[in-house]
């Protein structure tokens, strides 16, 4: 039961990803059980016995067509089920009130908030090391950058992963559904300090978030 091991999902689109995970899990699991059962049955039933000869056949065209068409249909359907979720997560950007820049470097996440004016590059910008603070239930836009090598911002509980590539600004978003403190490991090998390059995502209740904002920008 692989799915028992999934980390707790606290994102708005996580359940769509987990749905597809489970769907594929059951389809592939059933396929494996059927194939393995058939194989073991054949190995037992058709083991060598004195006096019995193997069936002489070169194949069966009907069977070939069936076992070509059926997997093709299943896989094409899986493709089309995957597209809407993918499009929602990676191709659409919901309206957000909060945009945060994450600039990765060996071996830190440098997190920049635009401050009350909502603009980056102004005096009220504020930068944090390895900490992202967001309000619960609000979509948050991230702009991912890197100063050196490729890193990958990974939030297992939010089913979020996006590489940060030097020379690019990659937009991404998430919407956390439960307050708490969640780990942000780097998922792309980035050098000797890759392991341990880690930040924390603080998902606050609306009140706590306001309190945090007041503390940072009094």
């Amino acid at each position: 039961m692989l799915s028992w091991w999934l980390p707790e999902d606290v994102s708005s689109y996580g359940k769509d990803i987990d749905f597809l995970f489970h769907l594929i899990y059951y389809i592939t699991g059933a396929t494996f059980v059927l194939v393995a059962a058939a194989m073991i049955a054949f190995l037992v039933l058709y083991r060598h016995k004195e006096g019995r000869r193997a069936t002489y056949t070169h194949g069966n065209t009907t069977l070939e067509i069936v076992w070509t068409v059926v997997p093709t249909l299943i896989l094409v359907v899986l493709t089309f089920l995957s597209v809407p979720t993918w499009a929602r997560i990676k191709m659409q950007m919901p309206k957000t009130d909060l945009t945060v820049q994450v600039n990765a470097k060996q071996f830190n996440w440098i997190v920049t908030y635009p401050g009350p004016d909502g603009k980056f590059g102004t005096e009220d910008d504020k930068t944090f090391d390895n900490e992202i603070h967001v309000p619960v239930g609000k979509p948050v836009k991230l702009i991912l950058k890197s100063q050196d090598v490729i890193h990958s911002l990974y939030m297992p509980n939010l089913r979020f992963k996006q590489d940060a590539v030097p020379g690019r600004e990659i937009p991404a978003w998430f919407d956390a559904t439960k307050p708490g403190k969640y780990e942000i490991p780097c998922a792309e090998l980035c050098g000797f300090g890759h392991s341990g390059m880690r930040g924390w995502l603080f998902v606050h209740t609306p009140e706590d978030y306001q309190k945090w904002v007041k503390q940072q920008w009094p």
């Binding site: 091991w5 999934l6 980390p7 597809l20 594929i24 899990y25 592939t28 396929t31 494996f32 194939v35 393995a36 194989m39 054949f42 058709y46 083991r47 019995r52 000869r53 193997a54 069936t55 002489y56 056949t57 070169h58 194949g59 069966n60 069977l63 070939e64 076992w67 070509t68 997997p71 896989l75 899986l78 493709t79 089920l81 995957s82 979720t85 993918w86 997560i89 060996q106 050196d148 090598v149 490729i150 990974y154 297992p156 509980n157 089913r159 979020f160 992963k161 996006q162 030097p166 020379g167 780990e183 490991p185 998922a187 792309e188 090998l189 000797f192 890759h194 392991s195 341990g196 880690r198």
Partner: protein, 581 residues
């Protein structure tokens, strides 16, 4: 069909003895070159395997001294430092992929099987063949040399993503990564020579009557592999050269500061890399297709479907590579196209699996060591194939990309698939290759211990991946969300150590049989294909005065109306038999 090349080949060396050097070292005989590739691959497998043991030690008991390694890691008193750990997994994968599986499957068995199974006296270009091996050996020396240079060997992963790999200060490795590039460029030249040779030989040097659709499936698989090698390796060569230039000559192919593009490396690498995956698995598919009919005493089910599905893989493998890059920053619209092609490439593999099952159905199955390994290949490949479907679905891939799920998947395909295929092939063709039988009980002991410990070592990696554990991390217990999974890492490590120890049975069997095994008859397995009509081991130029003539397809087992249960390709079928092909 005329055979001008075969005729001239008869002329060279039929009448004079070759000296030691020309027989064993600079040999142009395809069978000797095959053995050389086999020994190269097995030697590298020992090194690659030992690197894996160190990786597993670190993951199970992070930052504790490795017993007995204090003399090597003096500064840390036996603890593996993170930069060394990165080197270990980089070189484990590099050696296993480029210097174990490719030399054994394509190098050794490509050389051994193709001429013998199509009825040729040697490869089309025997000297090029010799050059191919020795170029490969030079690449091996260059690759191993990287372990001894200051700064250590390459440590940017076997995928060597730029810019990490492109600037020495990012990893601290200097000549290690350079040698990695140079060695792969040299190795690619070796593989190109082999590929040209295989393709030319298959097209031009088949025996009379050996039409394309009478070729054994392993020859088909090696032929298609050679086509993939020929088209894929130049891309790797170019990419490795560009990386080397970025590192040493100040170019900026992959460095944004000078106008370069980091993702260009990934496009080039995976455009090579995905066909490469099929280069690693296709020969093993061919071997399973070869061995299952022999020991099921039954024709292969759906011969043409097997050929067409391999051709489909050959074509589709070029248009799926983007699935390695779903979260790389590549335009997400492109990801949708790659999802569809990736889903579709599972179909030919499914067709092959069902046909293998069809071959077993109604058979008269003998559980010899080669058969057990071929059956394990089918079972493990099914798991590896099915787990690939998770990654094909872009939303699921967001979560499992760069986790241990990927590590599990690749090991089910490349160990469960390619290595069990390689073991099956070694046990099956050893009598022909060395003229002696391998020991069956010891072979079975090796198989069962390997099969069980393999699954203990690799299946739980799926669970770690689903739990979110990243690949290539040095210390999983640094992360709070991974702590409850740590006992799986310990279990995997015990499995991996046992798997390593189980290979001692193979080493003993291999070398003992080499010198003291029972003498092999010409056709110990009662098989139908042409190599079994030559003596074991076949002499120089394989057959005596006459090359065999082929009358029918390669898998005529249990033909009705015949007293024996196999009909060699050189013997016409009785007129009543419903022969195909």
């Amino acid at each position: 069909m005329s055979h001008p090349i075969a005729a001239t080949a008869t002329g060279h060396g039929a009448h004079h003895e070759l000296g030691f050097v020309r027989t064993y070292i600079f040999s142009t005989d395809h069978k000797m070159i095959a053995r050389q590739f086999l020994f190269l691959g097995l030697f590298m497998m020992v090194i690659g395997g030992l690197l894996a043991m160190l990786i597993r030690w670190q993951l199970a008991w992070p930052e504790t001294p490795v017993p007995g390694l204090g003399w090597l890691l003096r500064e840390t008193e036996g603890v593996i430092p993170p930069e060394t750990y990165n080197m270990l997994f980089t070189m484990h994968a590099t050696l296993m992929i480029f210097f174990v599986i490719m030399p054994i499957l394509a190098g050794a068995f490509g050389n051994f099987c193709i001429p013998l199974m199509i009825g040729a006296r040697d490869m089309a270009f025997p000297r090029l063949n010799m050059l191919s091996f020795w170029t490969g050996a030079v690449a091996g020396v260059l690759m191993l040399a990287g372990f001894f240079v200051p700064g250590g060997h390459a440590a940017a992963g076997w995928t060597s993503y730029a810019p990490l790999s492109a600037v020495p200060t990012y990893t601290g490795t200097n000549w290690g990564q350079n040698l990695w590039c140079i060695s792969l460029i040299v190795l690619a030249a070796s593989s190109m020579m082999g590929a040209i040779n295989y393709i030319t030989t298959v097209i031009n040097m088949r025996a009379p009557g050996m039409t394309l659709f009478r070729m054994p499936l392993v020859v088909w698989s090696l032929f298609i592999t050679a086509i993939l090698l020929l088209l894929a390796l130049p891309v790797l060569t170019s990419a490795a050269a560009m990386l080397l230039f970025d590192r040493t000559l100040g170019t900026h192919w992959f460095l944004p500061a000078g106008g370069g593009e980091p993702l260009l490396w990934q496009h080039l690498f995976w455009f090579f890399g995905h066909p490469e995956v099929y280069i690693l698995i296709l020969p093993a598919m061919g071997m399973a297709s070869e061995i299952l009919p022999v020991f099921a005493r039954k024709p292969i089910f759906g011969y043409r479907a097997m050929v067409y599905s391999m051709l489909a893989i050959c074509f589709l493998s070029w248009i799926v590579y983007g699935h390695h890059m779903f979260v790389s920053g590549m335009d997400p619209r492109v990801g949708i196209a790659f999802t569809l092609t990736t889903m579709v490439i599972a179909v030919p593999s499914a067709i092959k699996t069902f046909n293998w099952l069809g071959t077993l159905w109604g058979g008269s199955i003998l559980f010899t060591t080669p058969m057990l390994n071929a059956l394990a290949f089918v079972g493990m490949f099914v798991i590896g194939g099915l787990s690939g479907i998770f990654m094909a679905s872009t939303p699921v891939d967001i979560f499992i990309q760069d986790t241990y799920f990927i590590v599990a998947h690749i090991h089910y395909v490349v160990f469960g698939g390619s290595i069990f295929g390689a073991f099956a092939a070694i046990y099956y063709w050893f009598p022909k290759m060395f003229g002696r039988m391998m020991n069956e009980p010891l072979g079975k002991l090796h198989f069962w211990t390997t099969f069980i410990t393999y699954n203990v070592a690799f299946f739980p990696m799926h669970i770690l991946g689903v739990g979110g554990m990243m690949r290539r991390i040095y210390n999983p217990v640094q992360y709070e969300f991974l702590q409850h999974l740590q006992w799986w890492n310990v279990l995997i490590t015990y499995g991996a150590f046992a798997l390593g120890l189980a290979q001692i049975f193979f080493v003993i069997n291999f070398f003992w049989s080499l010198f003291a095994g029972k003498r092999a008859p010409a056709n110990p397995w009662n098989a139908t294909t042409l190599e079994w009509t030559a003596p074991s081991p076949p002499p120089h130029l394989n057959w005596g005065d006459r090359i065999p003539t082929v009358y029918h397809g390669p898998y005529e087992y249990s033909v009705p109306g015949m007293s024996e249960d196999f009909a060699p390709q050189t013997r016409p079928l009785p007129s009543g038999a419903a022969a195909r092909h």
